[in-house]
């Protein structure tokens, strides 16, 4: 319990920190976003409109920073993320339209990659000194390749040259989103190449991590005891070695999510995938602060949430965490 309480406290702090960073991003940057917006629209925004925008972003000069901060929190807690400059729509709506795609693509691909990578890693770690070891250099290579570059290559090979997969988009544009099989299969078809890219470039990390953990755990006495007990190879591998080696994997899963999300955002751009990454990118390019802030917040919250889940799973997997102080 204490463990979970501590974690909860930590998450609250992190959430607070993320919101605060978010609050300060537009404020610490040189110039203010409204002037930037005015400048870019060259005379199209009247001074009145500018004033209104300032108030909207809480950039009111007459307000103390603290009041702005309080107001920001107030708005946030009411689910109010502001209005996007670039899309002239509520940020919450913009994000709501994008986030399912990102979660669908990145989430599923990451889970696949984690599962596969962990399995392969267990195998390689368990069978050291066999042909499986030769997977390691390949893994190292792929773990170092930037996601977006792999995406470029994948498009060039599988879309442009071979024409097997569409090069861009999230589903067949002639379809109207619905819960029909046709639409879902199209989503899967369109998601295959991006997902494959994510899997290929992130799997190596899991393979290598799990392999190292397996190697370490395999030399633990309890694994030898399992073998001495004559349990089946499967039990020894999964029940004893992998079962323990996976614990650190789970916690690094949570930690590296932020990293993976970062990588996939850029990949989304390459694949014209209508996820959060693309919006973040346009928001940054357009200095669309409300959208930028909203997206960053959402990503952070999502990563935090994934951390909570991973923590929970960890707690379930490792009885020692449940120990009372």
């Amino acid at each position: 319990m204490r463990f979970f309480l501590r974690r909860l406290g930590f998450y609250l702090i992190t959430f607070w920190a993320a919101v605060t960073i978010n609050f300060f991003i537009p404020r610490i940057m040189p110039g203010d976003p409204v002037s930037a917006l005015i400048a870019k629209n060259q005379g199209r925004i009247s001074p009145d409109a500018a004033e209104a925008l300032r108030t909207l972003f809480g950039l009111d000069e007459n307000m103390s920073l603290w009041d702005q901060y309080v107001q920001y929190w107030n708005l946030l807690l009411h689910g109010e993320l502001g209005t996007s400059f670039a899309y002239s729509a509520p940020v919450a709506d913009v994000i709501a339209g994008a986030i399912p795609w990102t979660i669908g693509l990145v989430g599923i691909a990451t889970i696949i990659s984690f599962t596969l990578g962990t399995l392969i890693g267990s195998g390689i770690g368990w069978r050291r000194g066999t042909w499986a070891d030769s997977l390691l250099p390949i893994s190292t290579f792929f773990s170092a390749v930037p996601y977006f570059w792999l995406a470029l290559i994948a498009i060039s090979v599988f879309s442009v040259t071979l024409g097997w997969f569409p090069a861009s988009g999230s589903y067949d544009r002639s379809l109207v989103p619905s819960f029909s099989w046709e639409f879902i299969s199209s989503v899967i078809y369109y998601g295959t190449l991006p997902a494959l890219t994510i899997v290929i470039s992130s799997i190596s990390g899991w393979i290598l991590g799990m392999r190292n953990m397996m190697v370490t755990v395999s030399s633990e006495d309890y694994v030898t005891v399992a073998q001495a007990k004559g349990v089946s190879e499967r039990t020894a591998l999964f029940g004893y070695s992998a079962r323990n080696a996976i614990l650190p994997q789970v916690s690094s899963f949570a930690l590296s999510l932020g990293f993976i999300v970062g990588g996939t955002l850029v990949m989304e751009i390459v694949f014209s995938y209508q996820g959060i990454g693309y919006y973040l990118f346009t928001a940054v390019a357009a200095k669309d602060y409300p959208l930028m802030q909203g997206i960053f917040l959402v990503i952070t919250v999502a990563v935090l949430f994934a951390n909570i889940v991973a923590d929970f799973i960890y707690g379930v997997l490792d009885p020692r965490t449940r120990q009372e102080g």
């Binding site: 001495a228 007990k229 004559g230 079962r243 009885p319 020692r320």
Partner: protein
């Protein structure tokens, strides 16, 4: 059974009455590369049925390696490079454990021979309840047993070692060190094995707890009749509990004799020195000598006796020939004991053209 009978040496050693485990000329290397460390060199050891055999020696002399190699549990880069490990089952059939394939070996494990490791702390899977871990072993060999039956058996086993059966649902970290060690013993006894190898099962425990565990083992052995190989570097403990003691030094057995014989009439200079290294708790304060120097590096052994550097009785021949186990050159000794010392092996000394020296008084007590 013959123990590595050296050429030209007339004495024969009497066979153990009813061997259950015979380790013959077992050799073990560490490292798969061109430059392996020869940790065990042609070690032979026989365990009689129902016997408690103590294995003593300094840290790093290869005690654990021997135990692991005999069960083929040595982790990489350990490599068994030769020898036999013959196990005789209750009906007298001998099998060489080193020639079994994986399936046969797996089937034989725990049934025939169970092992309790050095650190009980790490021998239990931290994420499973202990009941399940005991049941795992049972069900691996008796697949027909239901989990429930297996857990019932586990409860009985816990009871056997004096732990309340409701501890079945505990995780290892919830148990104290002594309890964990008992759980390991209970687990080892799950399939009523004939041989129990215990690698320093009490080293991490307090004397009081050690006493409790040791008593438990003795009592269980009396009841169940298994044989034990008990590994420790606490010779005084061994003298108490073992029937026979084998002293190891630098990857070889240097002396193998009945427990009290080792204590009262050591034949090897190392055994003798070892016995004079710890102060007695009671009785007269005896003179303590200790052993100068430190154990040799196994990867840099020369041709001679590995103990020669530290030995008070070493002579020229000791640096030339590595002694083999022979019957001690002391009249009236138990014919089943053996020692690896050139003082007891004039034939080997002569074979390298040196003049044998007599057995010194310290090594020929009676």
């Amino acid at each position: 059974m013959t123990i590595a009978s050296p050429i030209g040496h007339p004495q024969r050693l009497a066979p153990a009455s009813d061997p259950v485990l015979e380790i013959k000329n077992l050799s073990v290397d560490y490292g798969y590369d061109d430059d392996p460390v020869h940790v065990l060199r042609q070690v032979s050891l026989t365990l009689g049925r129902g016997e408690v055999l103590g294995l003593a020696g300094e840290s790093g002399c290869g005690k654990s390696t021997l135990a692991y190699a005999a069960t083929r549990l040595l982790p990489p880069p350990g490599l068994i490079t030769g020898g036999e490990v013959l196990f005789t089952d209750r009906s007298g059939v001998k099998t060489d454990l080193l020639r079994l394939n994986d399936t046969q070996l797996r089937a034989s494990r725990w049934q025939d021979m169970a092992i309790v490791f050095q650190g009980a702390m790490n021998s239990l899977n931290p994420v499973y309840r202990i009941g399940r871990q005991i049941a795992d072993g049972i069900r691996a060999h008796e697949p027909k047993t239901s989990q429930k039956e297996a857990l019932e058996r586990a409860a009985e086993l816990l009871d056997l070692v004096g732990i309340s059966p409701d501890r079945l649902r505990s995780y290892p970290h919830e148990l104290s060190g002594g309890m964990r060690q008992r759980v390991m013993i209970a687990m080892a006894l799950a399939l009523d094995p004939q041989v129990l190898i215990m690698d320093e099962p009490t080293t991490a425990l307090d004397v009081v707890m050690q006493r409790q565990i040791v008593e438990q083992i003795a009592e269980l052995r009396d009841r169940l009749g298994f044989s034990v190989i008990f590994i420790t570097h606490d010779v005084s403990l061994l003298i108490e509990i073992a029937d026979r003691i084998a002293i190891m030094y630098a990857g070889e057995i240097v002396e193998d004799a009945a427990a009290l014989d080792v204590y009262n009439k050591p034949r090897h200079p190392y055994s003798s020195a070892l016995l004079h290294s710890f102060p007695p708790l009671r009785g007269p304060r005896r003179e303590l000598i200790g052993i100068p120097g430190s154990p040799p590096d196994l990867s840099r052994l020369g041709g001679g006796c590995p103990f020669a550097d530290r030995c008070a009785f070493a002579f020229d021949a000791c640096s030339k020939v590595n002694p083999e186990l022979v019957f001690p050159n002391v009249p009236g000794d138990d014919p089943r004991r053996s020692v690896a010392c050139l003082r007891h092996d004039p034939a080997a000394v002569r074979a390298v053209g040196e003049v044998p020296l007599p057995v010194p008084a310290e090594l020929s007590l009676s």
